[in-house]
């Protein structure tokens, strides 16, 4: 397998969905009706509170203050309805704790502090340091960690500077294993928004995917629609998640044993002939090998491992088959759990293949993306090292840059000459996003320049040499949203207000810095308005039109949302088939068929730390949002009543936690005694326990799960950081912090 083919696939998938300019729709009448009903002062945006990127309208009140954000009815990501975080997005703008002005680290008598600076000074300083460091180590020693819209602007700047090391936690800490698992099986990835055809499914299988708490908007909307239509939901989760409570079957699995269940399901489907024989015969490669391979993985075998009743395994397999091909074994999204995650997601992909759901209505549709040309700029300089050189020999099947790979490679070793010296960190709070904080801090210690672009004072900004305050997404333009969907579409973000304080949009910051670095050739546009208008005119729209409609849909080029009956399809894999037996995995020395491996178990007196989402918060980025903290202002620790009894714990009481490596939590967390969690695990919502005192609402509220994740199981296939092999015990003291008991 070659990397070039992977890159081709990514780009290829996009150009396959290129749009015809002539056939573009005019904006719908419904939108104009709505405009008349609601107040006329509205600005289009797409949401940045998470990466579902719903398009909506920002409304102001009589005083001209931003009052509310409402979904755009035309938007396929949200269908006119935002999730609580998007609705509460006003708080991202109105939070008075926001970063207000650029800050430069100064050292006086050995004591570090920040001094306020104006933009010119801060950017001059960065440009000068970048030039000095690049002169010593080459421009390749600069890396960009980014999550969110700013990445496009800073990425442009970094690539022009001479480095391709642009990485995001949304790969190796998030969806990486599923993309690689599906890429190696079907030759294509899942994308965001997921190509799952939930609204038409008859059976939805959620494996640790906690839709309903995970508020990715389109999925929750479609799941609700599926419930209405009577679809069966099967949820596999050690915790009685919200989704589990809506399910016909809840499989309360012992954590870390999902692979056994998946293999047993395959066994049942194949042994009973409950699979799509025509589909498999027509499209699949390696069925006989798979059949042979899963023979031994009987439901009885899985029972001993997963604690799931063999009859339930059979019954659920039958449900899936009866619904097939309108069945979805959901690939999940945050899937970096135990280090064999790509293999687990391969198993998920294989199950979907057996049931023939890929390319089928109610299974996985074929998404299409609107094609928007880039503003022409000179080719980027070719770097001496590619980012993959940083972790040379490892993570061979990674199809994006591995953030932890870059982080590790920043720490100098005797045999490495490509250590990173400059980090740009934009819109990602690495001390919450990357596991093993000590490793992250060691890397940061080795840097010569750390620039952090953020909207809030967080853990990362405290470590920065220069802090650059970005304005919120409601105060800026960004690049067009053009995610793949059932219908190709684009959405625009237009500032609804002037940037508050002395904050600036990422595009401006990147362009200014590029100019100071002598890279203006790569930023030839005057401003975002010019850039966007140019792009939009290329596809038969304009900035003016988009300001009026916010979202524009384009017709699909082919009527290929699903495979046609008996259609011949060339899959983008080595064999051109759906690879039940993966030749790519085999070529790189990994198991071509997924196998079960046992994972670490909690030692005596310890409990597995599992974590997830609360519907009203996004990671650590909303923990200080005034609107959202009003609803939930700290995380709590879910403890089974049996465990609570042993430890004498009561709901409302605060405890600290210590993990297997003796790492003690900085803050305390409130106990929530609940039957909804297994007795061998405890659960908390990720994103709390901020230790930056400048966060008036979030500081000291709850525990940051990341600091307890020191045992990281790296997936050898693509570098994903498995984070669920950490075990904690309670440190009970009389001390009580937080808001006090509340039910």
């Amino acid at each position: 397998m070659t990397t070039t083919r992977r890159q081709f696939i990514k780009i290829g998938a996009l150009s396959a969905g290129s749009i015809t300019l002539a056939g573009s729709y005019t904006w719908s009448k419904a939108a104009s009706l709505l405009e008349n009903k609601e107040s006329p002062i509205r600005t289009p945006t797409y949401c940045e509170v998470c990466f579902w990127q719903c398009a909506g309208w920002v409304y102001k009140d009589e005083k001209g203050e931003i009052q509310k954000i409402i979904g755009n009815d035309e938007d396929p990501h949200c269908n006119g309805r935002f999730c609580p975080r998007g609705t509460g997005g006003v708080g991202q703008y109105s939070d008075t704790d926001r970063l207000k002005t650029p800050l430069i680290r100064t050292s006086k008598d050995g004591v570090d502090s920040f001094r306020e600076a104006d933009w010119d000074e801060a950017l001059d300083y960065i440009a000068q340091r970048m030039k000095e460091i690049a002169a010593k180590h080459g421009p390749e020693c600069a890396a960009l960690f980014t999550h969110g819209s700013g990445g496009a602007h800073f990425g442009q700047m970094l690539k022009a500077f001479g480095s391709q090391s642009v990485t995001a936690p949304s790969f190796a800490q998030c969806r990486g294993p599923r993309e690689v698992g599906f890429l190696t099986t079907f030759g294509d990835i899942i994308y965001s928004p997921e190509r799952t055809d939930i609204r038409d499914t008859r059976c939805l299988v959620l494996i640790g995917s906690h839709i309903g708490e995970n508020m990715h908007n389109g999925q929750i909307q479609e799941m609700s629609e599926a419930i209405d239509k009577g679809a069966t939901i099967i949820t596999v989760d050690p915790r009685f998640s919200t989704a589990a409570s809506k399910s016909k079957f809840w499989l309360p699995i012992k954590p870390s044993t999902d692979m056994a269940l998946l293999l047993a399901w395959m066994n049942v489907l194949i042994e009973n002939g409950w699979y799509d024989k025509d589909y498999i015969a027509r499209y699949a490669h390696g069925f006989e090998e798979l059949k042979e391979h899963v023979k031994k993985y009987t439901p009885e075998w899985a029972y001993g491992i997963t604690t799931i009743d063999p009859n339930v395994i059979r019954d659920t397999a039958r449900e899936m088959y009866n619904a097939s091909p309108a069945v979805i074994i959901h690939p999940g999204r945050h899937v970096t759990w135990y280090g064999d995650d790509t293999q687990r997601l391969r198993a998920v992909a294989i199950l979907n293949a057996l049931l023939g759901s890929w390319g089928r209505r109610g299974g996985f549709y074929n998404p299409e993306k609107a094609k928007v040309p880039d503003y022409p700029v000179p080719p980027f300089p070719v770097p001496k090292h590619m980012p993959t050189d940083a972790y040379n020999g490892k993570y061979k099947l990674a199809n994006e840059v591995v953030s932890n790979g870059i982080c590790d490679a920043t720490i100098p070793t005797a045999d490495r000459d490509c250590s990173y010296k400059i980090w740009f960190v934009n819109g990602t709070n690495l001390l919450a996003a990357l596991p093993d904080q000590d490793q992250t801090k060691r890397a940061i210690d080795a840097l010569e320049l750390l620039v952090v672009v953020d909207t809030m004072p967080v853990e990362m900004t405290e470590l920065a040499d220069v802090v650059l305050p970005e304005c919120s997404y409601l105060e800026r333009y960004d690049m067009l949203r053009k995610s793949p969907h059932r219908e190709p579409n684009i959405a625009i973000r237009v500032p609804a207000a002037e940037p508050k304080y002395n904050s600036k949009p990422a595009d401006w910051i990147a362009k200014q810095l590029a100019e100071k670095l002598g890279l203006s050739a790569w930023f030839p546009w005057k401003n975002m308005e010019e850039l966007l208008d140019w792009q939009l005119r290329e596809i038969g729209s304009s900035l003016d039109e988009m300001k009026r409609i916010g979202v524009k849909k384009f017709p699909r080029k082919h009527d290929d949302l699903y495979f046609a009956p008996n259609e011949e399809i060339a899959f983008n894999t080595t064999t051109g088939k759906i690879e039940l037996y993966s030749t790519d995995m085999e070529a790189e020395g990994f198991d071509p068929l997924p196998v079960y491996t046992a994972h670490e178990e909690p030692p005596e007196g310890f409990y597995r730390l599992i974590y997830g989402r609360a519907p009203m918060h996004t990671f650590s980025r909303t923990a200080n949002n005034p609107n959202l903290t009003d609803i939930m202002d700290e995380n709590s620790l879910w403890v089974n009543p049996k465990v609570a009894k042993i430890w004498g714990l009561k709901s409302g009481q605060y405890v600290k936690l210590k993990n297997q490596d003796d790492k003690l939590s900085t803050f305390s967390i409130k106990i929530r005694v609940t039957e909804r969690i297994r007795w061998d695990s405890v659960y908390m919502v990720h994103g709390f326990g901020h230790n930056n005192t400048k966060l008036s609402r979030a500081h000291g509220r709850g525990i940051n799960d990341t600091e307890l994740i020191t045992n990281v199981k790296v997936d050898p296939v693509m570098g994903g950081t498995g984070m669920r092999s950490n075990f904690v015990t309670f440190i009970v003291s009389n001390e009580s912090t937080g808001k006090g008991a509340e039910s």
């Binding site: 009903k37 609601e38 009140d61 009052q67 509310k68 954000i69 409402i70 979904g71 006119g80 309805r81 935002f82 999730c83 609580p84 609705t87 509460g88 006003v90 309903g212 708490e213 508020m215 908007n217 929750i220 909307q221 799941m223 609700s224 629609e225 419930i227 209405d228 009685f240 919200t242 589990a244 409570s245 809506k246 809840w250 309360p252 519907p615 009203m616 005034p626 609107n627 959202l628 009003d630 609803i631 939930m632 089974n640 009543p641 609940t674 039957e675 909804r676 969690i677 297994r678 007795w679």
Partner: protein, 178 residues
């Protein structure tokens, strides 16, 4: 005309979007709310059930809050919606104490505030209440019970439902589909 709302506990995921949307739409001050989410867990692991309800003022047909109000600030408006006239309210708190559902709160500006079914700012303009129109699971239904074709009448005919504390005799007009 009788306005009413139904919430499907089988679809509600307890996300609180309805709460946030109400806050931004109706400028409910931070720290207060006109609607809220209740989650009740039953059973022991792994035999469990949860009921999730988005609650608000029940716009009771026989409402103690209207009865106990000394000034007439709390009153029945169009379609039986219970409203508070701000400049008639003296903030005595009697209605807060009288509501078995804890649906009212003292607004920092002095008067007592609560869910209005978005009557004046949305419903009378032909829009759904803010909470109903934002709900990602579309689990809320609003409309006129006297109109057999309204979404709320239709769903109440189709599904089993309950009201909260019927024994309190308040005749609530917020229905929970079960």
């Amino acid at each position: 005309m009788r306005y009413a709302m139904a919430v499907d506990t089988k679809k509600c995921v307890g996300c609180s979007d309805c709460v946030v949307a109400c806050q931004t739409e109706n400028k409910v001050p931070i720290g207060f709310c006109r609607d809220w989410v209740v989650e009740v867990t039953d059973g022991t692991y792994p035999q469990l059930e949860i009921e999730i309800r988005s609650e608000r003022c029940n716009h009771c047909d026989n409402s103690p809050c209207v009865r106990c109000c000394p000034t007439g600030a709390s009153h029945y408006a169009d379609g039986g919606v219970v409203l508070v006239t701000h400049d008639m309210c003296i903030g005595c708190g009697a209605c807060i104490a009288s509501c078995p559902y804890d649906a009212r709160y003292p607004h920092p500006d002095g008067y007592v505030d609560k869910c209005t079914f978005c009557l004046e700012n949305r419903v009378q303009k032909g829009l759904n209440p803010a909470c109903v129109s934002v709900c990602p699971t579309k689990c809320m239904y609003f409309g006129d019970l006297d109109d057999p074709n309204s979404s709320v009448s239709v769903i109440l005919k189709k599904r089993k439902f309950k009201t909260l504390i019927p024994e309190a005799g308040t005749m609530p007009q917020l229905y929970f589909l079960i």
